[in-house]
Symmetry: none
Subunit: 224 residues, 2 copies
């Protein structure tokens, strides 16, 4: 599952220069990791991230002016593909939950072993959610008990979901962005008829009645 055919590009956002340099050195010692930029504040960080589209962002939470959580929210407004590792030196509960619910994929304490951090980066680049032992319980506790656990305790009927095609998936992303059929068509350089056909197909496959339901379902299930 975890393949490492090409380098993982990384941007570090961290206010302490010493930590920044330390991270870069430690990570660049790994041939498959490539620190493409370092930023000392969130504003620069967001700019660089939009420009360079890295695979992974190491985001310090304790930044001045705009803090890490705000930065994560900002990043998530535009991109959901970039993986974000929240870095911090302490373990305040609210911060853990806030970071993860804001869109961070992982949560590390700064005293992590550099080699371990490299491993985590590789994992997270593949989409893994990784949470430091010190705060893992906090994060897990914040997951609400499913109100219908009993439903699961005796097998729920699997509802054979029909998979979307690649093209439909593209259309869905635009749909979730709130674009009209006309706009989607323009974006994909096809006729409006095509866009409509795809949307129609998406609605049927997702078992929903209209594009709003499709968008909401897509967001809730994280398929964006």
């Amino acid at each position: 599952m975890i393949t490492e055919e090409k380098q993982i590009s990384i941007i570090i956002v961290e206010d302490f220069k010493l930590t920044r340099v330390g991270l870069r050195c430690a990570l660049n010692a790994n041939p498959d990791l490539n620190v493409v930029a370092e930023c000392e504040n969130a504003v620069d960080g967001i700019k660089e991230i939009e420009k360079l589209q890295p695979d992974v962002v190491l985001m310090d939470l304790g930044l001045p002016v705009m803090n890490g959580i705000e930065a994560i929210l900002k990043i998530r407004e535009h991109s959901s593909d970039i993986k974000i590792i929240a870095l911090t030196s302490h373990d305040r509960e609210e911060e853990v939950v806030a970071a993860l619910s804001s869109g961070a994929n992982a949560y590390c304490l700064k005293d992590i072993d550099p080699n371990k951090l490299a491993d985590v980066i590789r994992d997270v680049a593949q989409g893994v959610c990784w949470i430091d032992p010190v705060v893992a319980n906090l994060a897990l506790k914040s997951i609400p008990k499913s109100e219908n656990i009993s439903m699961l305790t005796h097998q729920a009927p699997e509802q054979a979901r029909v998979p979307l095609t690649e093209r439909e998936f593209e259309v869905l992303k635009h749909l979730v962005a709130g674009k009209s059929n006309t706009e989607i068509a323009k974006e994909l350089i096809v006729s409006v008829h095509t866009a409509k056909a795809h949307v129609c197909s998406i609605l049927q496959k997702m078992c929903v009645n209209d594009r709003v339901q499709a968008a909401v379902k897509a967001v809730k299930e994280g398929i964006v």
Copy 2:
């Protein structure tokens, strides 16, 4: 942080014998891992776990009779130290959330690379929370937005968002549910004109162009 001075004891709970044997072989190939018991059902599994007090439990979720989630709940009644890795072959959303909220520390799909699984076990034994890429988004999405995220993000001045009225909030909920203006009107026992007026107002206040964007924004910001 991750030290491996002594062996990690493991109990496997899995109904398919072939998978069980496969897991044991793969794991025992690692000198630091030690499979101390295998069980083909949850009842035996719980007994063995209580008796042997392993470091880590590999718990299949798709067990017959008493399924994995029930088993996890049972285990957690007595012990919180034992680390539980939920194993499954599919990726049903409810199951992911249910497993984690029931007390699992990690969630793996069965198609994981055996060596990777060994790594995960080492991590989880240290308390790490590890969630497979395929379902990581689902898990993270289920973490509720901290209501006081604004406390951590000294924002607010920039946005100056107009607050929705109670009525508009009601309408928004129906909108997110994918209902049409007509349906919303029926639900709230008002005329379609009223529903439209509210929707129009919602769109303006939320600074979006159409109901899809409003719905997506509402879901993403957790105001549903």
